[in-house]
């Protein structure tokens, strides 16, 4: 399944690139960064290592591109919601639904984002990878601050209740991101089944933020 979007008419090389990203993201999700080799990715693709090196210079480069693509997809998904003319809690709720769906549908990419943030915190990387990760983690902070802004507004509007904004933001992302750890696709799962999971995750986070008028599933 090609997860990252490729528009009709985009060059064949872009499609080839996305196929490699998908395969590599799946490998990183299953085994983690350290235990994954370019050989593993090639095996999964039934391709040569040469085909991968034609597009990506190293395992670290591949990892960074997956991180970036994961965040690009998240930003694109919430973009139409940011400027809606609605109460902040309504905007937050729509963004949260969109985010949780992203965590489920593109979870291999999102696991790489998670692992990248961990690697950044641990600092266990080369100087080159460190500067790449610094930039990516900053990109992710910008995304986080879009949610933070709506949470702060919702609290000002009397629709959310929490003490410290930073702690609330951490808790919220842990809750909304959690399906990357526990979600497992089931045979014959319908779109309705996934909606149902998304609803429960958002309801939990919204309740956690003291959200008013919450409709429990």
């Amino acid at each position: 399944m090609v997860l990252a979007e490729v528009g009709v008419g985009e060059p064949v090389t872009e499609r080839a690139r996305v196929e490699i990203l998908d395969a590599a993201a799946a490998c990183f999700m299953e085994r983690g960064y350290a235990a994954t080799s370019i050989d593993d990715v090639a095996r999964r693709l039934r391709a040569t290592k040469g085909r991968i090196y034609h597009h990506f210079s190293s395992k670290a480069d591949l990892f960074a591109q997956i991180f970036r693509t994961g965040m690009d997809m998240n930003f694109a998904a919430i973009e139409p919601l940011r400027s809606l003319d609605e109460p902040a809690i309504a905007i937050w709720t729509k963004m949260a639904h969109t985010h949780v769906r992203q965590m489920i549908v593109t979870r291999a990419y999102q696991r790489v984002v998670w692992e990248g943030v961990e690697m950044h915190l641990r600092g266990a990387t080369t100087p080159e990878q460190r500067s790449q990760l610094n930039e990516l983690v900053e990109y992710r902070s910008q995304y986080s601050s879009v949610f933070r802004l709506q949470m702060a507004r919702a609290r000002d509007q009397g629709d959310m209740h929490f003490a410290d904004l930073s702690i609330a933001n951490q808790m919220m992302f842990m809750a909304l991101n959690s399906p990357i750890f526990w979600y497992k696709p089931r045979p014959r799962e319908s779109a309705q089944d996934i909606d149902n999971i998304v609803d429960q995750v958002v309801a939990f986070a919204r309740g956690g933020l003291g959200g008013k008028d919450r409709e429990r599933p």
Copy 2:
């Protein structure tokens, strides 16, 4: 700081063992299992590798003992609360406070528990380590089911509101465990500061579970 408890009068070897566990847990927390060597642990202890091998047969053994000790401490901490004669939501709330405090105070051990579960899910281990991890993950499931039981009772008693018990349980542990990822000790932090963080984490999880009568901080 010796985190795992050693009773007064316990043999010196037990104290030596706990010092090694503390140092190794700190190394695993900072770098992760794969990137940590027995040499790193010895360096942190300013001891020889021989001293470590006197007590533990391998890095995998050390890791497993930290996992077990982390869970032993968690079980011991909630034990007095399990059989209180109070509404389930009150018992759950006390257990949740205790659990979050554990996550903060013994977080190096709890990060190992987290990484052990990840390694178990990924299956990227030797057969011997796999059987050890199977047992430890089962031990952790027993702990999880203590909370699950109180959540189910609280819902029956009309004091919590959530749809699927398994999803609610996953969300709850992600929320309560989250300080192992974002909590950083600050200079001159008081017991009151930590209480305040614990209160906010528990309030989030309790709100997420649709807990009634919640006192927001």
